[in-house]
């Protein structure tokens, strides 16, 4: 589904690259973890894969089409859904309004369907009252579920998540990991999770390790 060719990234000096000449492939229905030490470039890699930034070298192709040619805004709107460690919800809106807003922007098949939004939020364990509340009043775990629900209603085939369990306790972490597994296995999405938690990485189908300016598969997805 998503392929990188000769991918490279650096900030000021090409000699001080974070990584270069990276060739990767991410398949539908597979949950991949990106792990590595702090500063190894995990989040940068995720930004590139999510279309939030442009690579310094190489290309990223979605279904064999260069996302730069597709347009990063267009790519983000139709093909990728990003979940952040800080949730990044619209704090002045209710949980349901957050989902409906995302559905409208991404032109989801269910856009405007409040029942569908409620259904998704209900699946993730939110009560009717919590759905109507502004998300600022929800707990961290609840907000993360709203963020995941938002990615579920957006029809994107690719889901990328930056430290989605970083702020959660053990029970909530497992619940969130299970949800990602559902996204991959039940909905057939390609799920890429940046995490520093080995326990989370262990439950993924594949693990990509970034270390010392190198990118390597620690565990390859089975094809």
């Amino acid at each position: 589904m998503l392929t990188t060719k000769g991918l490279g990234y650096w900030y000021a000096n090409p000699e001080d690259y974070l990584f270069k000449d990276v060739n990767l492939h991410f398949d539908a229905g597979v949950m991949t973890a990106i792990v590595g030490q702090s500063g190894a470039g995990k989040t940068t890699m995720l930004s590139l894969l999510a279309g939030l930034d442009k690579p310094r070298a190489g290309t990223i192709a979605f279904r064999d089409e260069d996302i730069a040619k597709l347009g990063l805004t267009n790519f983000r709107r139709h093909h990728v859904s990003t979940i952040f460690q800080a949730y990044n919800l619209f704090t002045y809106m209710s949980a349901r309004q957050n989902l409906l807003t995302a559905m409208a922007i991404t032109q989801s098949a269910h856009r405007g369907d409040a029942d569908y939004a409620n259904q998704m939020l209900g699946k993730l364990g939110l009560t009717a009252a919590q759905m109507r509340q502004t998300v600022a009043r929800l707990s961290g775990g609840q907000q993360q579920r709203v963020a995941i629900a938002r990615s579920m209603v957006c029809d994107a085939e690719l889901v990328v998540a930056d430290e989605p369990t970083g702020n959660l306790d053990e029970a909530n972490t497992q619940a969130v990991v299970d949800l990602f597994r559902q996204l991959a296995q039940d909905l057939g999405k390609a799920v890429i999770i940046v995490t520093h938690e080995e326990a989370v990485a262990a439950q993924c189908d594949a693990v990509l390790r970034l270390a010392s300016r190198t990118v390597s598969w620690e565990r390859q997805p089975s094809r």
Binding site: T73, R76, L89, T101, I105, R111, G112, T134, D162
Partner: protein
């Protein structure tokens, strides 16, 4: 079962987001409304004052009198007198009254609305007493055209309404009626109230006047009206008390003056319907008269005074509009820039979801548009109050300046028109009248609100365009991840 909110069912777009933001962030919305209202209020006040000044100028064009006065060319008469003096004879100033036939010719010129004839002479009271003031030696030597003076001044007019004193409200009819065109050759008279009181005269009574020139005949006149003069004697030696002025038709005044004055006038005042045409009418009139005998002078200073005052007020109002609009744009732009900085995170989330940048700008524009509508509504409610207050201050300043110029900066009126006040006093009266006419009445009109809306829209568009640079440069990664 979850109750659905109507907002959730409607297709969510940037307009709805704008609505949600305005409702959710009440404090910020209130602040924006406050600032926008203040800007709109002052812009509207400026527009209202400008409109009022323009209306006042237009009204002045229609109502403030502009006149032309046809009278003897005194400068030429004095020149003739000096040349005859050099030849050895006693210097005598030859009077050349204006022929009414000439006045009728001039009256046919386009834009001349009407004309009023003035004949001034004097006669002695017969069977009643004129009012004497300290220093009066009998008569009012030098003021009238005749060299021999009586104690009663006869002001022969076309109608009392056209006489300067009545026209400028320094005299008004208190009993009976004023004189009209029909009284031109009648024996009707309007006398001053003090003169009437002193002699126990009332409307319907008769008085007798004995001419001091010509046949020196006695004429009996019927009192048809009594007027009250506001002016008083200055007490100057030789000056007759204003109460001794009686008004008659100009035909009768000419009879009293002498047979050679029939169908003549001391001066004729033409009212020009369009003050802006005074110069053109004057030019046309000059072609009809013998300029060595007659002179024609224009008096459109009331119009010019109002026009000048209103031009200044209008200019000031324009400055208010532009200064407030420019300052408002800068203030709003700064607020929007700060607002965008504060909402970088929200913009980042929208961009991460794939929202188009123009829609994000559209959301901010919609928010400001709603704020603008509320601001205009509030400004419309308070605009008249602020406009009136501001206009009052501006006009007060302007009128003081104009009055000062009128009283000290210009010479008195034409000598031929001096009736009750010396030249300077007459000038002051005219200036005050013009000053009264510069009072502005502001009105909130649909046109003013439409213009305000257009200006307000321009202000928020410019403010958004300035602030949009921040949105166009923003990268979601920088906001959401780093």
């Amino acid at each position: 079962m979850v109750n659905l909110l109507w907002m959730d069912v409607i297709h969510v777009n940037f307009i709805k987001r704008a609505g949600l933001t305005l409702v959710a962030k009440k404090g910020r919305t209130a602040l924006l409304v406050l600032v926008t209202t203040a800007i709109m209020l002052f812009v509207l006040a400026g527009l209202l004052i400008r409109n009022a000044a323009n209306t006042a100028t237009a009204t002045a064009k229609a109502n403030v009198g502009a006149t032309l006065t046809l009278s003897q060319n005194r400068a030429a008469a004095f020149k003739t007198m000096r040349s005859s003096s050099q030849s050895g004879s006693k210097p005598t100033l030859t009077q050349t009254p204006v022929k009414l036939s000439l006045a009728k010719q001039i009256a046919r010129i386009q834009h001349v609305a009407s004309y009023a004839v003035t004949v001034t002479t004097s006669a002695n009271a017969s069977g009643f007493d004129a009012i004497t003031t300290r220093g009066t030696t009998g008569g009012f030597g030098g003021r009238g055209p005749a060299t021999t003076s009586g104690d009663i001044t006869i002001s022969g007019v076309t109608s009392t309404a056209s006489a300067t004193a009545f026209n400028q409200k320094t005299a008004s009819i208190t009993q009976g009626r004023g004189l009209t065109k029909a009284d031109a050759n009648s024996h009707n008279v309007v006398i001053e109230s003090e003169l009437a009181k002193q002699n126990s005269l009332s409307v319907g009574d008769t008085i007798k006047l004995k001419a001091t020139t010509g046949s020196k005949a006695t004429t009996t006149l019927t009192i048809v009206g009594i007027y009250k003069a506001k002016s008083t004697s200055t007490g100057m030696p030789g000056e007759s008390d204003p109460a001794n002025t009686v008004y008659t038709g100009y035909g009768l005044a000419n009879q009293v003056k002498g047979s050679k004055y029939v169908n003549t006038a001391d001066n004729v005042t033409f009212t020009v319907s369009a003050p802006s045409q005074v110069a053109a009418v004057k030019k046309a009139a000059k072609q009809l008269i013998n300029t060595s005998k007659y002179s024609i002078t224009s008096d459109d200073q009331n119009y010019q005074l109002v026009k000048s005052s209103m031009a200044t007020v209008s200019g000031f109002a324009n400055k208010i509009v532009w200064l407030v609009a420019i300052a408002g744009t800068i203030i709003l732009a700064l607020i929007v820039i700060l607002m965008i900085r504060e909402r970088r995170h929200e913009i980042g989330v929208l961009l991460a979801l794939g929202e188009a940048r123009w829609k994000i700008i559209g959301q901010f524009l919609t928010e400001l548009f709603v704020v603008l509508l509320v601001g205009i509504g509030l400004a419309a409610a308070g605009g008249k109050v602020v406009g009136d207050q501001l206009a009052q201050q501006v006009v007060a300043t302007q009128t003081t300046q104009s009055a000062t110029t009128g009283q000290f900066g210009r010479p008195g009126g034409p000598s031929g028109q001096g009736k009750q006040l010396p030249g300077g006093g007459q000038q002051t009266a005219k200036t005050n009248q013009a000053a009264k006419q510069t009072k502005l009445a502001t009105h909130v009109t649909v046109q003013a609100l439409a213009l305000l809306f257009a200006l307000g829209l321009g202000i928020i568009l410019v403010a958004i365009l300035i602030a949009a640079a921040g949105i166009l440069r923003l990268q979601p990664k920088n906001v959401l991840i780093e």
